[in-house]
């Protein structure tokens, strides 16, 4: 058992940190929202790409850093510590690219990967459908073989950043078989057959969208991997998220906990008596525990990946620990603010974060789906569904 970083990881930290110190814009301390935020994410992606730092997990031959998982953790730590924005193409770079590298043709890789790095193409994910969320394999978007191309008809939902994307990696139905009838394709969003309709989320923002395909065209050269092998590729793509993804969440949550502590002190100084009540003190302790436990679960997970071992149900446990703990932490921030949390003003960011956090027990496998997975791993009969 050993949670110290390898020498290589620390070396990487040194060089990355120097680059960041030189290049990360000081003025970005000022937080921005909306369109400005999206542009900042794009700009940051371009800057990192220019420096060669944008794709930590890709092999070097494709323009990545070829980092070990420990180094990737360091990469994330450094970015979180300076409060850097996530690059706009994170979905493509972190999830789809590795799938393309494993399953794609040389032509596809040569064409798409450099453009992705440089943020010339912005990618979104077309997996979920109105009737296929937790039940992803129930997807119904139809791709009809028309000789040179496929004709796509159907609808995707929960497509993050679709309004800003020109490419979408999309799962479509190419045969009847539930799992063996799904294919993965690259959809050009800038065509007549594709309509994007932004969905307002609970906080009133519109990063999410529905994507309608109405005789949309995908040339056969844009089919990824073998036809009808999409289910395997989708699982591969989603599994890429698991390791480093939760470590990032964990780091962010630790940062938020520190902000919460400051808020506590601030409210006490303002004479808000309820802060000293039993309820909030207990909640503070619970949030501290969640942060520490999540950190330890994530490090255990990464150590296992690092040594090439199966992580078992740890990703599911990390998901549950994070999503529930994070919701509770943000809920505590509202309790600290009391009535003030309701209105726009100095502390409005907490309400926004809180509202957005309601999705965290839903996306990337609902709480109930995670529990199904864990129960199955214990040898209990498999089950489906639930929320």
């Amino acid at each position: 058992m050993n949670f110290t970083y390898s020498q290589e990881a620390e070396e990487f930290r040194g060089s990355f940190r120097s680059w960041l110190e030189e290049h990360f814009p000081q003025e970005w301390n000022r937080e921005v929202t909306g369109e400005e935020w999206v542009q900042r994410r794009k700009q940051w992606g371009e800057m990192l790409a220019e420096g060669g730092w944008v794709a930590p997990s890709w092999p070097e031959e494709y323009g990545g850093l070829g980092l070990s998982i420990e180094q990737q953790l360091v990469y994330i730590e450094e970015l979180v510590s300076i409060n850097a924005p996530e690059v706009l193409n994170s979905n493509g770079i972190g999830i789809f690219a590795l799938t393309l590298i494993k399953y794609g043709t040389e032509e596809q890789k040569k064409h798409y990967l450099p453009r992705m790095l440089k943020h010339e193409d912005i990618w979104c994910q077309g997996f979920s459908e109105p009737n296929a969320g937790s039940d992803l394999a129930g997807l119904q978007t139809k791709a009809e073989d028309k000789g040179d191309y496929f004709l796509l008809n159907g609808q995707k939902v929960w497509t993050s950043y679709a309004p800003y994307s020109n490419k979408c990696y999309v799962l479509v139905r190419t045969a009847d078989s539930r799992y063996k009838g799904i294919s993965l394709m690259i959809l050009d969003m800038e065509q007549k057959g594709v309509t994007v309709r932004p969905i307002k989320n609970i906080a009133g923002e519109t990063e999410l969208a529905e994507v309608f395909m109405d005789d949309a065209i995908v040339p056969k050269a844009d089919v990824v991997g073998e036809l009808n092998n999409g289910w395997e590729m989708a699982n591969f793509a989603l599994s890429n998220e698991r390791g480093i993804h939760f470590a990032q969440r964990s780091l962010k949550m630790q940062q938020e906990f520190q902000q919460l502590l400051s808020l506590f002190t601030e409210q006490i100084d303002l004479g808000k008596a309820y802060v000293k009540g039993s309820k909030l003190q207990t909640q503070l302790v619970q949030s501290y525990l969640s942060c520490e436990i999540l950190k330890s679960v994530c490090l255990r997970n990464i150590a296992l990946i690092s040594q090439g071992d199966d992580t078992g149900v740890l990703p599911a446990i990390a998901k549950l620990t994070w999503s529930e703990g994070h919701q509770d932490l943000l809920n505590t921030s509202l309790e600290l603010l009391g009535e003030e949390s309701l209105v726009k003003g100095k502390h409005e960011v907490w309400m926004e974060k809180f509202l957005l956090s309601r999705a965290e027990t839903i996306y990337a496998g609902t709480t109930q789906v995670q529990k199904n997975i864990i129960a199955k791993s214990l040898g209990l009969p498999s089950s489906k569904g639930g929320r």
């Binding site: 129930g138 039993s278 309400m351 309601r358 569904g385 929320r387």
Partner: protein, 388 residues
Amino acid sequence: MEYRYSEQQVMLKKALNSLLKKEMPFETFVEIAETKDGFSKDKWKKLADNGWLAILAQGEFQTLEEVNSLDLMYLSESIGGALFPGPFSLTAGMIVPLLSQLTLSEKQNELLLDIIAGEKLATAILPSLTDQGGTVKFNWPELINSNEEGKVTLTGSYSQLQFLQNSDVVFIPFTNNEDQLSVAIVNTSVNGVKITSQKSVDLSKPQGLLELQNVKIGQEDILSEKGLENLFYATLLTYFTSISGEIIGGADEVLARTVNYVTERKQFGVAVGSFQAVKHMIAEMKVEIEKARSYSIYINSIDGKTDKATWLNIISSRYFNTNMYKKICEDSIQLHGGMGFTWEESIHFWYKASMFQLYHLTHPALMEAYIQQSLLPTAESKDLQYHN
């Protein structure tokens, strides 16, 4: 013992429901919430036209006999279910019963009639639960006032006053030189009054910042009769009862929408509602709502109230209800899956309303402390009346 609503109660409820169905279908609410900052004078007048604002009016303003706070709670369930965007509980549960029990001047009388008719909208500063030297009790917000030449001068500010930006008058309680409670009736359009709309997450209850700079109030606009403070607190109880009704009605509506959703919605080829995990969550929602309903009805029906016990009951049930409401909405969002997270699926409107309730006048941590001190009184708090 009897657990049923009377014929009159059932008839009133039906009438209100049918009005709401006609005047405040969900699309209308959404439109008012999103485009009209949460208030429509037209709809408010529709409610008033049918006499609903005077349901608890007393004396010469009384329209129905034998109507009490429990009736109001029952009716408010419909208001909360429909998320009616207007200060129904404040008006019908507090302002109207309070004014109608006072000796009013002709001008004041007219104001009350205007309020009842929905011609004028009024809001009021209310006391809130605070911790004073280790004892939690209701306290009045502090406003600087001076009393010169028969005029009272008010200076100070008050944040997050419900429906302020839509109101014609504000009732402002203040303590006069003899430490006695008075209430100033302040026209929102007079000099020295500044009103700023504060964007609230709860789109059914707009809030505003009130700033007063040397606002002079003449005696004719001051209520200060003996017993005013007690009456104020008595009607505050009715107000809390009414918003309890809003909570229970809102939670009920959210549950109904959730049951509907999971019954319609399919996953793995079957209705989401057929998964045991889903069913149990819904069952737990039902349990919590019925607990809240039983408790609220019970405390509003028992005889032989003493003042202290009544406040403990009201705070205890409010503590339970507000938590319940928020939890019901959160479970509902979870059960709606991705849809629950969108603006388009409607649950978030109630969710945000539940957050207004959670912190409105009575922070949950202070309610908890209030109950604690009532159960285990310390030397300091033992003999206090809990509101003054």
